[in-house]
Symmetry: C4
Subunit: 386 residues, 4 copies
């Protein structure tokens, strides 16, 4: 059943169309939406479309491989699953689903700090999962959370730095979504008209696991998504600064990645502070509306930071997008929304399908570009269309 | 009631949608419309969209403030309310409403010279209101009007200089609007189908205050808006020149601002003639259709005029727009139509909401940009999208 | 009646909308249409939209005038009526209507060589009319036609040079139009559903003046528009070359203008051969589809030809378009289709209205630009929008 | 009947509209579609639209000719018919139809290696047909196929090099098309609702010639289009490399052309390996989605390869497109889809009409450009519109 639903998708965008029907509007809108005028969201897609390929021909590409080594580990493809909050609201046990599918396919998966399933359960499902933390500018709470992540067994920590405040998510209000979720007639109606989600995701979660809480914002359990106390989880984020990064660096024993950087100077400083990698990102267009698309600044960051690991997310929907990002200087990319749509629509089979589709496109397009290894990609493979 | 209507708006553009339903088409069209092909109106929005932000991260932004000092007075936000003619036709006692809400919120409000409420009443409602004058090239009338404004207690005078003639407002004819308003079946029908406006604004005004007149075009009372003699108010405007500015400068004891400048040479000359500030503006696209968007020439004017106070209006609908204008050289901006829509839809509560929304966006986006004071904004915060 | 129809138009484009309803589709399509993909037609409008104005302020513009001297004669405005073939098919006695309205308004009118009314009648209606000739590469026929024009009293001759062959006017076939007009059920139906045109223009013409002929292609009368022999009129046009221009120059006693030039080298050569003026034009997009908009090459031609009189047509619909063309180097412009729409919709009153509207826009926008004489226009008045 | 259907088309795009109605959706979609997001397909058209013409005037163009010499043979026009797979599925005996119409009109026709009619039959219909081969990286099979082509009498061989793997033709799945064709209710329904195609093309083929096979992928007959074994035909294509080209060059006695080149370096190498010509192409947007439009890189390739014959396909729909490609450096162009649509809609009469329309446009537009020979075309004839 879910395998058939997964097979109906021929590309990542198909999962979005399927999820739009499957999910109640508040939930779909929460995942799909961005902020204010959605300028950054649109820019993420537009930035890719401005580049065209200049392929090479008559090269034996029969031994091509899509693998990529990152921090000493070889992954099956040059992309992973980006962290997404509230995944378990869109898909039953969403984070576990994403984690398992990623493990199965040999790609990295990043657990969001705004997730509703305890990180200890997720790493049990995928011992190589990475953990993304939303941290306040408060040394005690920072230490408590990262100690917990280390104790749970995470070896890679992503610190998201583009969330000084909660953004202006008007789309949530317009779609009838809020955290905490406020019961309303509209919400009830949406639930009734989307019974597959209401029963298969929402009720099933509640009955088996109880009311979902933000489980990974603190060392202790956070606010439940149906309470009014959720704001507490977000206090003091606007105090976070480079000194806290230094503190984290001293305390965190594993790999440290800074996510949400767009300015070359910040990337350089992150490297200087001992971060092993940077994820260039405008948070999928969900934070500062008007923030430039990551792809537009990628070449400048590549030049600024030299050898540090540079990753990118935002707007990746096709294998060609992955190849363009790599050609312009990314070592790796992350894909968000489409993976969660796939999980919502068809569970683990859906995510497996999404990963396979994207990997298949990369493989096919490497052949058509005339390359066997991703390392052959460079700006010379591209030409600006305007 | 009006508080609920105000709360329904999540951003400034929402007030436009609400006002479109609330106001009779001739009145809404008068406010919303521009001139000829509306090229300048469209350009005002387009000019902002061409810039993207390059935010900074990991800075403690917990002590950020949206305040801005202008001519020695600290305002709560870097924006004010632009002068708009006939405000009292769209909202009951519109100018008073705008004046009070601005005073309450701590932002400047500019009273239009084409307003229908005596300036003496407006300054009584907001002792810090500014006065914008439409002046003919006639020394006697100039002196009479500015003397009246000074006597009324205004300390800041804005001279609008982009109105040498009445523009080609075809849209007014198409929407059935004219000054003077000419009674017609169409107007009657519009009145009947918009009873909340007809009773709450039009009849209420007429019954309590009598037929509205242009009250601030002359020292004496001007033509009523339901007469045929209104043209008299606009005579000799095309004679106005730099010598009149010099005359005004000599006679006006307060702060003098020139509004409607787009050419660097004119900005420089205005400063040379003793003006304390310049408002870069194409009059909301309502005068010369095709006149360039103020934002496009702002950097050149900033460079041309050095330290003089440079303000801008036209196209500001979001906090990000305000931040872009400030980054490109503006010291302050003014917002027009949305404030009047808010007044029309929900009176003082509406305007308070509009101000709060815009200020909230500025505060939030300052945090996401990584700045605590508006003075940190510079062209380096931006990157052209094309 | 026709005065009321004229007054319904608030700008030139309104006449197009009115004519679309008034005229049978084959006739409207003939006038409105261009060639192949209509790329040049669209480019004519797009080229104007890329420029914005940089107006000046605080200049006394009370003595501004829209007059322009051309070849020693002062015209009331810097525009005239472009030559249009088959004008008498769209408007009853169309060429006479255009000629009279132009004379009345003090602007030049060019009679098309493809017109259906004898040039002798037109110059009787407007002794200052200019004559535009379509000439074959055949000395005898050239001499016969220009001798006839000189004898008729024309003092200005325009030689159109962008018509080496009949273009690909698919739109005519799609709209059911052809020269000669071929009777068909479709044509009959169009006639029945547009009775005001059928009776007021077509039947009235036929009954009073007989079947229309091409009257000005030769010294003698040309083919009737309802015959199959019309092609004869177009023979040998592709032989026309610079030697013929030299021949014309030697024989024509008056002012000689070359129309349809886009390349600077051709403009220079035309001047070298003794032409007094050049009309930069892509024939309203009706000849080579893809030919560049005249406005785009105007600055290069201005630079190439120095002092020769440079005129432009194509895409002019507003006073601002006229001002942009003049700022970029044109001495004068011509307006085509809108004038014929005005004649079709409301006869001489319509054309008078169209001229007055355009002249009014020029006057008003000169004031808003801060100029009193058209000679003050220069490229400095403009700024590219992209 | 088919002559009337042919005459209904006034330009090449009209055949597409006619074919859309005539063909079952799976078949039309196969021909019309491209790959993934159809970016390269759209870019092919967009690239032409960015150029405008700068025509010359007053030149005698009465002796103009559209002929072009290619490899020592003079063709009636500077375009030929591009290779298209499965032509016989869209039009009854499609390859024969295209071959005959091309022979009749004096333009080259390229038989696709994915065709369903034996090359020996096609060359019998048109002794000057060219053969395009899809070749695996396997010397034995290469030699077998090109020996067969030589034996059949082909003198020009095109090696397509942009097909290392089968592309991602989602559109085929979405339209219900696959190779092999899989019987389905949907397919049946399409057949029933398109009876003229079902009877006149599909049944007629099956009854007279049996189940169609891929006839020209190997020396021997390939898989039938209604089997599951078609993949075999595509094995080892990703091994193909420059050494195979050298092998082909040594063995092939005639003219050798490499098709599918976009990078200047590859064009140079092809010339160095002894190829007489290169076809610059992104395979009509059907291989690597995002591959740049051929026209965009044409000038760079022209500069890189010097005197070698440079041809182009992709996006040509008008005579002006042909002229633009020639002006930017192409010696010749090829037109694909429109020719097959014409064959589908009206057989040989359709293709003859399509060729005549395009040739007519070239002739007419040469006159309007002011040239008599195609050799006069150069980049100076064009100007970028943006």
């Amino acid at each position: 059943m879910s395998a058939r639903r997964a097979a109906a998708a021929l590309c990542l965008d198909d999962f979005e169309a399927l999820a739009r029907r499957h999910l109640p509007r508040p939930v779909f809108g929460y995942v799909a939406g961005a902020t204010e005028r959605n300028e950054s969201l649109a820019d993420n897609a537009a930035a890719f479309a401005e580049w065209a390929f200049l392929p090479r021909v008559l090269r034996d590409v029969s031994r091509r491989r899509t693998v990529r080594v990152l921090f000493g580990r070889e992954w099956a493809a040059p992309f992973g699953i980006a962290p997404m909050g509230l995944a378990a609201l869109a898909a039953y046990r969403g984070d576990i689903v994403l984690a398992r599918a990623a493990a199965q396919a040999g790609v990295p998966m990043i657990l969001s700090g705004s997730s509703l399933i305890r990180m200890e359960e997720v790493i049990a499902a995928n011992p190589e999962a990475w953990f993304q933390a939303y941290l306040p500018g408060d040394a005690r709470r920072i230490e408590a959370l990262i100690d917990r992540a280390a104790a749970a067994g995470f070896r890679t920590l992503i610190l998201t730095v583009d969330v000084a405040v909660l953004p202006n998510r008007e789309n949530n209000v317009r779609n009838g979504f809020s955290t905490p979720l406020r019961p309303s007639l509209r919400l009830l109606w949406q639930g009734l008209t989307h019974p597959r989600w209401s029963v298969g995701t929402f009720l099933r979660t509640w009955l088996r696991h109880g009311m979902p809480h933000f489980e990974n914002s603190f060392a202790e359990r956070g606010a439940p998504i149906l309470s009014r106390h959720v704001e507490r989880d977000f206090t003091a984020r606007d105090h976070l600064n480079w000194e806290h990064l230094a503190l984290i660096r001293r305390r965190w024993p594993g790999i440290l990645i800074v996510k949400g950087v767009l300015h070359p100077e910040d990337a350089r400083r992150a490297a200087g502070e001992g971060a092993e990698g940077v994820i260039v990102s405008n948070h999928g267009g969900r934070q500062l509306d008007g923030a430039v698309a990551a792809l537009r600044v990628l070449p400048a960051l590549r030049q600024a930071v030299g050898g540090i690991t540079l990753m990118l997310d935002g707007g990746i929907r096709r294998g060609t997008d992955v190849l363009k990002a790599l050609a312009l200087g990314a070592d790796f990319v992350f894909v968000g929304r489409p993976m969660l749509y796939a999980a919502a629509v068809a569970g683990e089979a859906g995510v497996a399908r999404a990963i396979a589709l994207l990997k298949g496109e990369i493989d096919r397009n490497m052949a058509l570009l005339g390359i066997e290894r991703l390392e052959e990609l460079s700006p010379e493979c591209l030409i600006r269309r305007r």
